[in-house]
Subunit: 239 residues, 4 copies
Amino acid sequence: MEPVRVTIWNEFIHERTDPKIASVYPHGIHHTIAQGIAEYGFQIRTATLEEQDHGLSEKVLNSTDVLIWWGHLAHDQVSEEVVTRIQRRVLQGMGLIVLHSGHRSKIFQRLMGTTCDLKWREDAKRELLWVVNPAHPITQGIGEYIDLKPEEMYGEFFDIPAPEELIFISWFEGGEVFRSGCTYTRGLGKIFYFRPGHEAYPTYYHKQVLRVIANSVRWVASAHGAAPTFGNSAPFVTF
Amino acid sequence: MEPVRVTIWNEFIHERTDPKIASVYPHGIHHTIAQGIAEYGFQIRTATLEEQDHGLSEKVLNSTDVLIWWGHLAHDQVSEEVVTRIQRRVLQGMGLIVLHSGHRSKIFQRLMGTTCDLKWREDAKRELLWVVNPAHPITQGIGEYIDLKPEEMYGEFFDIPAPEELIFISWFEGGEVFRSGCTYTRGLGKIFYFRPGHEAYPTYYHKQVLRVIANSVRWVASAHGAAPTFGNSAPFVTF
Amino acid sequence: MEPVRVTIWNEFIHERTDPKIASVYPHGIHHTIAQGIAEYGFQIRTATLEEQDHGLSEKVLNSTDVLIWWGHLAHDQVSEEVVTRIQRRVLQGMGLIVLHSGHRSKIFQRLMGTTCDLKWREDAKRELLWVVNPAHPITQGIGEYIDLKPEEMYGEFFDIPAPEELIFISWFEGGEVFRSGCTYTRGLGKIFYFRPGHEAYPTYYHKQVLRVIANSVRWVASAHGAAPTFGNSAPFVTF
Amino acid sequence: MEPVRVTIWNEFIHERTDPKIASVYPHGIHHTIAQGIAEYGFQIRTATLEEQDHGLSEKVLNSTDVLIWWGHLAHDQVSEEVVTRIQRRVLQGMGLIVLHSGHRSKIFQRLMGTTCDLKWREDAKRELLWVVNPAHPITQGIGEYIDLKPEEMYGEFFDIPAPEELIFISWFEGGEVFRSGCTYTRGLGKIFYFRPGHEAYPTYYHKQVLRVIANSVRWVASAHGAAPTFGNSAPFVTF
């Protein structure tokens, strides 16, 4: 079996402008994730905002099976053309994994049809992610929960369409809950939203978080059927 | 419009055998709920375990639009025949609301196909029920959350089929989360599971809890289509 | 109870430019639907493409509980601004009913995140719409199926997100099937897509088709909960 | 990776009592399916009604990853004890594939909570199974539809809970439609219902039908998470 071709996209701003963030992710969140899932045998590339086409040319996307997305400060700087290109590729079957503050990215809003807004608080307290769908391949090897501290809080109502499958629900020390692992299908493409990790905390070094990301790469990259045909059709059956 | 005909079923054991529980619900949980939703204009009856047929004869069920169920100690004492009768009526369109420890009732297990098991702890701490589907009629008038203290903890994994609609998620002080408001359809019947309230706490006097119960009575009693026909059929179309 | 305020939007081009269509809908599809559901007690207005703001000013939308949408030839002529305005109102709780060729409207694509494309054929043959969710209020009074002839064919794959509730499946004489009645939730808004009727056929005079439209008006207009709040939040619970 | 351990269960009555059926499946439907999916690399066993424990002892089930079920005449002869044993194994993570008339088997009814009844007609006409979820691994290699003739008709309403994922919809020459490929999750177990094939027709020699069965074996056998724990729990978080 061919290795899954993963492109990890990161805005890559915090890590170059804020020394506190740089101390956590000196080479960028994309780099840390790439190293963290290296052991799973994927073929990994990275791409960032400032590259031409944000590093997401037709050529790159056409050879990408799974796109991982992290963004926060600069959602508005992502060009509509690239967003449209990504959307088209998802509908054709490319998997998409949206992480944390990517919930407000243009591509996630475009695919959801909603604001994807939520409550938040940077209080560096505890998050517990409980598995609520232990039958799902994304939960393999995770146990009953993931225990993270410190993490930022994200709270409901999370303005998304009801997930097709709800995998994780987060508990936050300050009293909130959140639908933290959500799957969707759009066209031939599978999508996974995963809530952790804030740029200021070492979440993407956490073994279970990395395991969820690796599991979800496999899941969004899993086989699909034939590309459908559209338009004016001859009668299928004649009597 | 005819008033919705509601039958509130209660095991009615705790309230007669445990003075502590009797002090909270002196006439039984069924009685408190009946009074609590009286203002909503339903036509309300009650039924209990020790009555003949547990108070749920064919005649009673056939004139019931919505059955509310509270049980805990004596799930095994409910006769298979009555469970089968209730199941048949749900499939024919009777609404069913299962409260709290009713999660382990025979009728809920029968309709779900799973154990409906969960984690629990009687620690009398705080529960926050967050609305995660504010578009749903069951959430009308509730606000963004319900704040209960004291309540018993119920924790995931809750062994149910994924709800068709997830309405509430609970946060518990001890670290757990729970899918606390879940809808299902079986045949023509609509089902709502609602997690609160423990027999030792005055949960069924709480205005918002009662509002959810009243809203869900209306929702599970809402209109449905024609009873389907089954079996050997003549060709519908001939060429 | 206040009557539901319905705005029926129609592109209104075919009926003015094509004598064949004009003979079926002399005053426009919007007018026929308005008359056809008049008996259900809604407060009905209409709006068309060529009016200022396509007849959908802020003022009109803010006093609309349910928007019904029929379009075909001129999806591209609907302004982005009006589409954004409608989307915002849906997320705030306005119901939306999209009919037939409205599947390719900007507003439906915007809310779905997909192309909403499909197969089609104008062969004026028979369509049978089977009820596959008889528990749903939208099916009240419909029986087990709706029998239409002539109708245009729409065939799978229909490029939409999996419906939250699938209500009707169509059978077409030429061999195709179609998910013909689909519900969605976006924000506080409920959405119903209903497949019939082609502009050249008298579908919107059909009693059962009108009944489905009326039922769905009530359903998408049904109560919802409180508008959620978003953004930076104070801790809810402090220990 | 270990091969998936598949047990194909067949009632095995028609093939021994009816020469017409015997001429189609001389060694039984189970044997034909076993041969038909041999090329996919599974480790396959068969079991039949008349064996002790119907061939489904604890030992057999505990070493089964996926159980395939075909039954028709003798649903009532399957012992409650064995049904309970299968249900327990599904909840623990064993995959289950229910074929055709298995819709009325005790195990399927037990897991669904409904009658699983439907319309039917043995008219040996054409069935077209349209893919309505081309993103799903079960549709890999199938194309846009499967074309079967002759097949028995199954028609809606099919009294099942709404499938978690709807994969195929059938068109029948006589005018009916049917939800022919449906997935469910119960506990850790994944379930797939697949409508074809009638015992009198050579459906289980059809390459695409066998491909769907093989794809679904892989899908219901896919990884899952940890077995949940239930019962009285210590506080997870203390303040």
